[in-house]
């Protein structure tokens, strides 16, 4: 029953951008869009956009283009944004608090149930209704509250320990902000946000302006 043609990760990483622009169009009340217009907005070629979308189905109509609302909905479903996820954050420092405070994530269906930290000064505080708890309760909390996504915003020294707790608690996906590569089982999905790598890339281009291929 396995699908023949899996979709490559480079395609997947373009989908959120399509989704964002379609959301913008939707809010503007525009209900029709062609691959060519999408190309102008996103910077991807029209050909590439049509290829990308056709990995998932024929959402367009010849001579017309794509219906904005329908395509937005479909992409939302493909990305799994048509449901709610219970999440927790390990590491209640600035970064953890920033993520907890960011309304955009909650709006997209990622519900942050609790923050966890080992610093006694933080435990018991609340970040807009979300309580900071003792990391010793993390495993128990996950099991009791049907948590699917674990976010790591700890220093890198603690990141692997948290990943281990997440693994044995039944977490399905980790969103990792620590500058480390986590060792996890094959079934665990890990998405890294490596800020250092992003900053160093910026620094490279700053120093080698002409010496690269623009994307």
């Amino acid at each position: 029953m396995e699908r023949e043609n899996r979709v490559s990760i480079t395609v997947i990483r373009r989908l959120p951008k399509y989704y964002r622009y379609l959301g913008d169009l939707l809010r503007k009340g525009i209900n029709r869009i062609s691959s060519q217009e999408l190309s102008k907005m996103t910077g991807f070629t029209a050909s590439q956009i049509r290829q990308d979308l056709n990995n998932f189905g024929g959402f367009g109509q010849q001579g017309y283009g794509y219906n904005v609302e329908e395509l937005h909905d479909q992409l939302g479903k493909i990305l799994g944004l048509d449901r709610v996820y219970n999440t927790v954050i390990a590491g209640a420092g600035n970064l953890g608090q920033a993520v907890a405070n960011y309304k955009g994530f909650q709006d997209a269906g990622f519900k942050i149930l609790a923050l966890f930290d080992k610093n006694p000064k933080l435990i018991g505080l609340k970040i807009r209704d979300i309580e900071i708890r003792d990391v010793d309760e993390l495993e128990k909390y996950i099991k009791e509250n049907n948590v699917e996504i674990g976010i790591i915003t700890t220093p890198k020294e603690s990141a692997q320990d948290v990943a281990d707790i997440y693994s044995r608690s039944g977490i399905k996906g980790i969103w990792n902000f620590a500058p480390a590569d986590l060792r996890v089982d094959d079934e665990m999905i890990v998405e890294n946000v490596h800020l250092n790598e992003s900053l160093f890339t910026l620094s490279y281009f700053l120093n080698n302006k002409s010496d690269y291929i623009r994307d």
Copy 2:
């Protein structure tokens, strides 16, 4: 005098990871490494690693491998990490404060001179020695303090305005955390950290576990 073969962005984005692992090795006192061992650590193939490095020069030695310290130094130079950058942050909310607090960036040579915000309640406060100033002073401050990198941690509504200020103040590179694509001149380097896109990618894989090509 233009280089014939520019280095592709996919290669550049792997360099910080090499750099990080080499730093780890250095701290462990290991002074020699082969492409095969680096492959095991990074997950890239040995062949790819040798190809990547040879874009910049022959850093290795047949029969021996690479000298850890030398390769680390060279990569640091290539990435532009052998000097200091003056930076400012626009948007002194949690995310801006998190970036300002992250010691790793300062250690790598990215000096955060000041934060800027328009919220009067924040103006005048300090985040570990770094003052929060009125965004009205941003342009003047950049010009007077030789600031090269501008960080954007504002809500997306203000991001383009800040980018415009950065552009006309002589900023060379923007590190953008707002979920928006900035319109800037060709010479401006923009590196985006699109957290939404990262989270949505995680969500995709959570829902389509078997339906993709592992990287």
